[in-house]
């Protein structure tokens, strides 16, 4: 019975969004402004500490928002979405290390390659539904991880690393880290914009129709395969860009951290925390989860118990606020549905 209730709510929400489409513009600009404002603080203050923290926050936002496109809008739980983060990281790193390609083109190539791969694997894999799809994405991530672990051009299990000299081309490692930060800010803005535009477009409506009832969507003239594959391809681009920047910044890439299944699950958690299928949800979820984790990690009170505490918090949220922070807000204060997408 609960399911029906949520579904009907979601449908109501969509219809609602459709009706008042034009009033929603300010929300997007507000979101963008907030992200930019936050992003400017370290630039103005020059605090590298804040910069590093925001880097992680923005990365969490990117990963959550991109997985939300395939999971929240389309209803396909991609458990191994981190595979695109790793692939992006590896391809960019390979180009930067061996061909001295600059970060920006290297990241773009990596992003396109990851999207291309998503296109290729998406066609067969997106035929699967529900748990089968989720399991398949885990399998893909593990297959790629173990493959890279044996693939010598990518350094195999040893991975690849930069000589400090590499950063000299960017004006030293200090400038390189700033560049990485600008990069992640740009990718974050791009991701949020894409997430917003998709949600508001006819394409997004089609995706949500597929989420509610794939067969009915087909009857309405939507080609589910084309829609799903397109969503999957787009959602693969952003993690790949983030991966390229992240591993550039680290100066080292190894298979285990690049294809870390736990990181994949963390981005699902962020989506759930903020609100499944909304634009603002993954952003809020990413911010809250990342800050909470760091707080627990660095707090002396919780010291080594932080993993368990994160588990307890997550469980309470899943059990009692299953719609996520944004979802719950929208449910409780209907007027907000006008403003928060």
């Amino acid at each position: 019975m609960k399911t029906t209730a949520t579904e009907s709510r979601a449908v109501v929400g969509t219809r609602f969004g459709e009706r008042i489409r034009l009033n929603l513009q300010p929300f997007y600009w507000l979101m963008l402004a907030l992200i930019l404002l936050a992003a400017f603080i370290p630039i103005v203050t020059g605090s590298s500490n804040l910069r590093e923290q925001l880097f992680l926050v923005l990365m969490a936002v990117i990963l959550a928002s991109s997985v939300n496109i395939i999971m929240g809008y389309t209803g396909y739980v991609s458990f191994g979405h981190i595979v695109f983060f790793g692939i992006g990281g590896y391809i960019a790193f390979f180009l930067m290390l061996n061909y001295q390609v600059h970060l920006v083109p290297a990241a773009l190539v990596a992003g396109i390659a990851a999207s291309g791969l998503a296109l290729l694997i998406g066609i067969p894999v997106l035929r699967l539904r529900g748990a089968y799809f989720a399991l398949a994405t885990i399998g893909i991530n593990e297959a790629v991880r173990s493959f890279v672990n044996n693939f010598e051009p990518f350094g195999g299990s040893v991975g690849m690393f930069f000589n400090v000299q590499v950063f000299e081309a960017y004006g030293g490692s200090r400038n390189a880290l700033w560049l990485a930060y600008y990069g992640i800010v740009a990718v974050a803005l791009l991701t949020v914009t894409a997430s917003y535009l998709i949600k508001r477009s006819k394409f997004g409506l089609g995706l949500m129709a597929i989420r509610e009832d794939q067969d009915a969507a087909q009857v309405l003239g939507i080609n589910p395969t084309r829609y799903k594959v397109a969503a999957y391809t787009i959602s693969a681009l952003f993690p790949a860009l983030a991966g390229a920047i992240f591993f550039f910044k680290n100066g080292i890439i190894e298979p285990a951290p690049a294809f870390n299944l736990t990181a994949s699950i963390v981005s699902l958690v962020a989506v759930m925390l903020g609100g499944f299928g909304t634009v603002a949800g993954p952003i809020i979820g990413g911010v809250v989860y990342d800050r909470l984790r760091e707080f627990l990690l660095t707090s002396s009170i919780f010291s080594s118990l932080h993993v368990a505490i994160a588990g307890v918090l997550l469980l309470l949220i899943v059990l009692f606020v299953p719609a996520g922070l944004i979802g719950e807000l929208r449910r409780r204060i209907p007027i907000l549905r006008r403003f928060i997408e």
């Binding site: 019975m1 029906t4 209730a5 009907s8």
Partner: protein, 237 residues
Amino acid sequence: MSTLLEIENVQSGYGEVQILWGVTLKMEQGRLTCLVGANGAGKTTLLRTVMGLLPAKQGAVRFDGQNVTKTSPHERARAGMAMVPEGRQLFTDLSVLENLEMGATPNHARAAMKQNLEWTFELFPRLKERTNQIAGTLSGGEQQMLAIARGLMAQPRVLMFDEPSLGLSPLFTLNLFQIIRKLKERGLTMLLVEQNVQMALAISDYAYVMNHGKIEIEGEARKVRELESVRKAYLGA
């Protein structure tokens, strides 16, 4: 004659969509009551609410003098309420015998399973031939028999049928009504929700006519059958 099952001013629905708007209904011990009405009138919703599969937003369901409104379906089943649900809802992966065993879940039914099985097989000799067949592979008519047999295995004090003739061939439908009549002769209290209004009214003692989530007409089945409005709306005359 005493009232066995009493539904009082029940309101219910799915999520935010309300379907029943205050339904009151009584079933007397040992009698066959039927509930008829157009598609979407709320008959199935009523049965689901009576059985507890849907919570009643308002009103009460009393069984044998006990208020069962807040109890779960399985508790109601154990108290002696049984239902042959719409679309049969068999355990399609289980064998015929296992389906019947599952029907006999309430304690009193479990104790009497052997005898009940015997007379059920007497009633449905076809099922006896197919004891170990997987239920999902039975024909439609056989599946309906199994659904009824499974309901009987609970040795219920009241048995509710939800559209039992749906999708059956005319021959099977006839057979079905004969079986219901036999059960009535055995003194089983039954509620029959049917689209085949003609036949339902013909074998029932008492009838309710439902429309738009409310009871519109009630009375002795014989009399209801004579009503002009009923004849027009449901009997095609």
